[in-house]
């Protein structure tokens, strides 16, 4: 342990593979369940979010199978409504929101800034327990009895009309919200106070910048959602109209509060993905990230403007024409920072020395799909267009291009990128290529037809539909089955690598970040000595790490 006085000024080269890693420093279930180590907590999260991903995935598989025929013969209408609610609630609140911050962020953030741990390790563990509690509660409520409100919980349907387990599900979501809130708090404080000497703001990796922006949104938006849901819960219990028009309440107020959280929440989901992609593209093109400052600041542009566009979900909900115009205008402003990022990633490739390992394939896939998703967002933000495609499959397709094509692609890329660091093992290259390819193809086949069927007017959340939409739905279901294979494959080859994979070595991708300057898997205390950072994160042209003099 070093102190201010005893701090060394000479940084030794990375030590030999230590005998003890964070995985072997203690054994037994208790050592995992009571750990304060951010790396172990990341692994705990990895296991839980993967589980949730597959629960949400099974629900939507049944939904898609039901949509094979216009009559929707597979399941009853009520069951169908419960299934898409399970899919939405789990994927949004228990997978997309926590996945990159809580898994990759938790694991990498202290390593990337040269810290021994997050600022508040106990709170970090508490976050995981809150997540598990919320998830268990919500999943139980949705499986035993079910909820049929959709993940948006619109009043007065959720507050007065629905007869199912709305209250327990909402309690689960609120609890999980506090989990994200504490994660965000931990990250912000850590980034402010725990950086290694020499690691100035402009030497921070973009992933850290995006985690910071994400955490800001967590902190400011989650309490609003929590309170809005608590008010609905009270309304259901006491039958007093906060949002119920029959008793003087205003159902639109709920939509305002809900989207005040849920629109920034889509940036919670996509921003860390953008961070991961910046790391990966720079590393596999062996280039400095083009326009570092613009990419870093655009994350903040997105986080701040993202708070001012919520009512673009309500263009045909009865808000005034003029406020709709303001929100449309602001929505276009928030598109600019995203465009900046896409152009800079593309420019980073210019004159690079590009190799195509699995993380890079995912990252390139991300840029491609995110661009399409973002562009269709321009359609939706246009008031005159939204008037037609609002609440249709066009919106579904747009959202999934950003969330699945963007976010999940980035998560897979990040997982493949840091997997050697987390486990010390390399996975099968051939299988990882294959699965990336399958996911890409399956994704396009699933969601492109939804744009067509959406423009033709198929509304979302329809248990059965008119026959002329069938061909597109069949294509989409076919794509979904391919996608499912793509998502199950990594489960096998990644788990297999734990036992049979080649040893990874400290820096298999020859990257410059601080997290690669230590053994894989890292030792319990991360850095034997606090590193001294002397340059920016992506100086690949020097072939030197951030802390090499």
């Amino acid at each position: 342990m070093s102190t201010a006085i005893l701090e060394p000024r000479f940084i030794p080269p990375p030590p030999e593979q230590p005998r003890e890693t964070y995985l072997t420093s203690a054994y037994g279930l208790v050592s995992w369940l009571l750990t304060k180590d951010h790396k172990r907590i990341a692994i705990l999260y990895l296991i839980s979010v993967t589980l949730m991903f597959f629960v949400g995935g099974v629900a939507i598989t049944i939904v898609r199978l039901n949509l094979m025929t216009p009559e929707g013969r597979l399941v009853e209408a009520d069951t169908y409504n419960k299934l898409f609610t399970i899919h939405g609630v789990i994927m949004v609140f228990f997978f997309l929101v926590p996945v990159i911050p809580a898994v990759l962020g938790n694991f990498c953030l202290p390593l990337m800034i040269g810290a021994k741990d997050l600022a508040f390790p106990r709170i970090n563990l508490l976050s995981w327990y809150l997540y598990m509690l919320g998830a268990a509660w919500a999943v139980y409520a949705m499986l035993a009895g079910g909820v049929d409100t959709g993940w948006t919980f619109y009043t007065p349907y959720s507050s007065q009309s629905s007869h199912y387990n709305v209250v327990p599900t909402m309690i689960g979501v609120v609890i999980a919200g506090f989990s994200s809130l504490f994660t965000g708090l931990n990250f912000i404080v850590t980034i402010h106070r725990m950086r290694a000497p020499g690691l100035t703001w402009w030497r921070l990796p973009i992933f850290v910048w995006t985690l910071y922006a994400t955490s800001l949104i967590f902190l400011l938006a989650v309490p609003v959602l929590a309170m809005a849901l608590i008010l609905v819960i009270l309304e259901r219990i006491f039958r007093i109209g906060i949002f119920d028009p029959a008793l003087g309440g205003d159902p639109l107020l709920f939509q305002h509060l809900f989207w005040f959280y849920s629109h920034p929440a889509v940036y919670i989901m996509i921003l860390p993905g953008m961070g991961v992609v910046s790391e990966v593209i720079s590393c596999f093109a062996r280039k400095q990230l083009y326009g570092y400052t613009f990419v870093a600041l655009s994350s903040f542009g997105i986080a701040c403007l993202g708070f001012l566009v919520w009512a673009h979900h309500m263009f045909v909900a009865g808000i005034s024409i003029y406020s709709a115009m303001v929100f449309s205008l602001l929505s276009y402003l928030v598109a600019v920072p995203s465009a900046i990022k896409v152009f800079n990633w593309t420019a980073t490739l210019y004159k690079g020395s590009i190799s195509f390992e699995a993380p890079m394939l995912y990252a390139l896939g991300f840029v491609c799909l995110f661009t399409i998703g973002g562009m269709t967002g321009l359609f939706l933000a246009a008031l005159g267009m939204d008037m037609h495609v609002h609440d249709t499959y066009f919106v579904i397709a747009h959202f999934h291009f950003i969330m699945v094509g963007g976010m999940v692609m980035a998560y897979m890329g990040g997982l493949h990128y840091w997997w050697p660091k987390m486990t010390g093992r390399m996975y099968s290259e051939w299988w990882s290529w294959l699965s990336a390819l399958i996911i890409f193809v399956g994704f396009f086949l699933t969601f492109l037809p939804q744009f067509v069927v959406g423009y033709n007017g198929m509304p979302r959340r329809y248990h059965r539909y008119v026959p002329e939409f069938q061909v597109w739905n069949v294509l989409s279901t076919a794509g979904a089955s391919i996608l499912a294979v793509g998502y199950v494959l990594p489960l096998f080859y990644l788990l297999r690598s734990l036992r049979y994979g080649a040893k990874a070595g400290p820096n298999p991708w020859n990257a410059t970040g601080l997290e690669w300057q230590m053994a894989s898997p890292p030792p319990r205390d991360n850095f034997p000595e606090t590193p001294l950072v002397v340059r920016g994160p992506y100086e690949y042209h020097l072939e030197k790490a951030q802390n090499e003099p």
């Binding site: 009309s161 028009p245 280039k287 909900a317 276009y332 490739l349 609002h390 423009y455 061909v471």
Partner: protein, 332 residues
């Protein structure tokens, strides 16, 4: 195997043409930009792939500030064009022409109830003629619904506590889908119907076959049934404001504010009379919440809209209502 395939929705209203033009513009502009990015990604990936035997890192590329600003501001300029275009279409779609005919649409789990100004009622079907603008006034009896006719490119939520509106003008005869697009519970997917567009002459025939009393006439009956007339009379000593030629006018309130007497104001005055009291009057009126149905409110409003000077029934009316139908579209 598949009976029909939906490739492109029919352009069945005047709005549809404008929306589709914007769609094509967006498709071309975004498509070009998207293809550019995809091409660059692909080209760079091939051109600058790592070749065997390559040693040392690639040369450093310096960021160009001018380039950064170029690709920040160019999209912004394009976005502003899209914004202005979209806003114009939206503005027109929600500002009905003055001569538009009003049709009331009431959503409830899980059906659409529609009332024509001449009194005809329909469920899950809407008959309209070509070439005439129609303004839909929407409300809901329970949860939020959304009135969506893809072929018309119009969409509006029906809320339980207020009126919303949207208008359209159909261009040629045909049958179109009507969907509820805001999730409303178990049978959400069953809350669908048809919009049937007819030639004007055919429409008139249809109307005549189903003629009942006009909406305003029904409203007159409701007005008398609930004894509204005992206060809202045209007499000197009336305890409540005279309703003649009220619709669309500016009303001065007791607390100093003003409000335009539109459908929402009239509705609120029936259900929550204490909310906006007209200057010079006391808060005497009881609420009719729970007594009067949403359909009756619609009828009363149609009646109030139709009232010309001297049209208010006498306080002791025994005689049948006038034979001629009062004019409907009194709004300016």
């Amino acid at each position: 195997m598949f009976a029909q395939i939906a490739w492109y929705p029919e352009q069945a209203s005047t709005t549809a043409v404008g929306v589709d033009r914007l769609f094509i513009f967006l498709f071309v502009v975004c498509g070009a930009l998207g293809l550019l990015v995809a091409f660059l990604l692909f080209y760079f990936s091939i051109r600058y792939r790592r070749r065997p035997g390559q040693v040392g890192p690639p040369p450093e590329t310096h960021s160009s500030l001018a380039l950064e600003w170029f690709w920040s501001l160019t999209p912004l300029a394009i976005f502003m064009v899209i914004f202005a275009w979209g806003a114009t279409i939206y503005f027109h779609a929600f500002r009905a022409p003055d001569h538009a005919t009003t049709i009331y649409v009431l959503g409830k789990q899980w059906m659409w109830k529609i009332q024509h100004p001449e009194g005809q009622r329909e469920i899950n079907e809407l008959h309209v003629p070509t070439g005439r603008p129609f303004k839909l006034i929407l409300t809901s009896e329970d949860v939020i619904h959304s009135f969506f006719v893809p072929d018309f490119r119009i969409h509006m939520d029906a809320l339980p506590n207020r009126y919303t509106s949207v208008w359209f003008q159909a261009v040629r005869p045909g049958t179109h889908h009507l969907f509820c697009s805001q999730y409303c519970g178990t049978n959400h997917a069953g809350m669908i119907g048809r919009v049937i567009v007819m030639e004007p002459a055919e429409y008139q025939e249809w109307l005549n076959l189903r003629a009942e009393g006009s909406l305003a006439l029904e409203g007159r009956k409701v007005f008398l049934k609930y004894r509204c007339i005992s206060c809202h009379s045209a007499d000197e000593d009336a305890r409540a404001p005279v309703l003649e030629e009220l619709f669309g006018k500016l009303v001065h309130l007791r607390d100093g504010g003003t409000v335009v007497a539109d459908e929402n104001y009239l509705r609120q005055s029936i259900l929550d009379p204490g909310a906006k009291i007209v200057a010079g009057y006391q808060n005497l009126m009881p609420t009719f919440k729970g007594q009067v149905s949403e359909e009756e409110i619609i009828q009363i409003i149609a009646f109030v809209k139709s009232l010309r000077r001297g049209d208010t029934p006498r306080r002791v009316e025994e005689s049948p209502p006038p034979l001629t139908t009062p004019p409907i579209n009194s709004e300016k």
